[in-house]
Subunit: 197 residues, 2 copies
DNA sequence: CGGGCTGGCTAGTCACTGTTAGCCTCGGAT
DNA sequence: ATCCGAGGCTAACAGTGACTAGCCAGCCCG
């Protein structure tokens, strides 16, 4: 069948990206060599260039697809209801779910931003700011609608976001908490932080 | 005076460490070269070895002194009262104050842990775990004494810590908030998180 | 059956970087 | 005046690592 060749190629490339992700998360982008990545997929370093144009490309691919995922999840969460408190709760749950389920992507996404080439980093940073603005806007609306009571919108928003980001550092699948449990509990914590009525 | 030579040496060394700190924070440990550090103190890279035994040494010095600072501040905060809620509040304030005032050290401390040599990393990680345990113990005691009401001690503790760590990422001296304001407000947020009575 | 693309391999290039070696200067103490 | 050590400099070494060049095997197509 004519799809076999193509199919195999596709799989390989995905394997490479997956291996790169694990290594970037574990050792960091700069400390990871193309040979390391090759070894992880049973190939010599230089062979990778038959599938990928550069090491930087791997990083870009990882960060972009990961960013696309969070943004999509966030939009779904916020769009699923009109109640600000529910929106914030669901947004936080999505945020945490992402940082737990895709902890490596999330981890690499925050840690390796600076090793993106200038153009890529700027684009990425902009999308990240948009994402954060989404949360700030929710908190602001909650306050305006008298549903939340916060000392500072900005600090509260940072707290919400940073709590969730932290999940990607300690979370491990199959330990004490499931993804859903963590998401749910962080949703509660978020409601406390904003003093939800 | 015989101290002049010594004094100058000491100052220089401190300058080197300061420059290294800034560069490590900005570009990352691996991406920073000895020439970079040298340039920052108007000296060629190799000359640094008259003051420092290795690049790794610079990282170790930064991380150790920084860790010593947090641990000391934490001990003072917890020792300054007997009331669990006050203890936790002050511990969080100290935590946040540290991450704001010493944001570069804090930032490097969390980001570059993996580039410490094995022995140093293990020692550092252990002290970090102790520090975290200090918070968990406070939350546990608060719950036991019926002063706090939390869904999960572990998750709540992580949240408290990660919120504070996040401060080192966005905080800038002389902008909207002073160190004290941030510390105070995060203390409030912490009280909300633990559902302090 | 045979040609050629796909994708692997080895060898090599080039740039870089931590660190050492060895030299020279200058300021302070004798 | 002179000595000397602290500390700067350049040159060089050794290792690394991204990426390229060029070769070859095997599989799919005709």
């Amino acid at each position: 069948m004519s799809t076999a060749g193509l199919a195999r190629t596709r799989v390989r490339r995905a394997d490479i990206v997956a291996a790169a992700l694990e290594l970037f998360a574990d050792k960091g982008y700069l400390a990871t060599t193309m040979d390391d990545i090759g070894r992880a997929v049973n190939v010599r370093g230089p062979s990778l260039y038959k599938h990928v144009t550069s090491k930087q490309d791997l990083l870009v691919e990882i960060m972009e697809s990961s960013m696309a995922t969070v943004l999509r999840d966030h939009a779904v969460a916020v769009g699923s209801t009109d109640d600000v408190a529910d929106q914030l709760r669901r947004a936080v749950e999505a945020h945490v779910r992402f940082h737990a389920r895709h902890r490596l992507e999330a981890f690499v996404g925050t840690r390796e931003l600076r090793h993106l080439s200038d153009g890529n980093r700027a684009a990425m940073a902009a999308r990240r700011r948009d994402y954060e603005r989404g949360f700030r806007v929710l908190v602001e609306r909650g306050v305006a609608e008298d549903r939340f009571r916060v000392g500072s919108v900005r600090l509260t928003t940072y707290s919400l976001l940073d709590m969730g980001v932290g999940v990607s550092v300690w979370f491990r699948e199959g330990e004490e908490f499931s993804v859903d449990e963590v998401a749910y509990r962080y949703g509660d914590l978020a409601m406390r932080l904003v003093g939800a009525a």
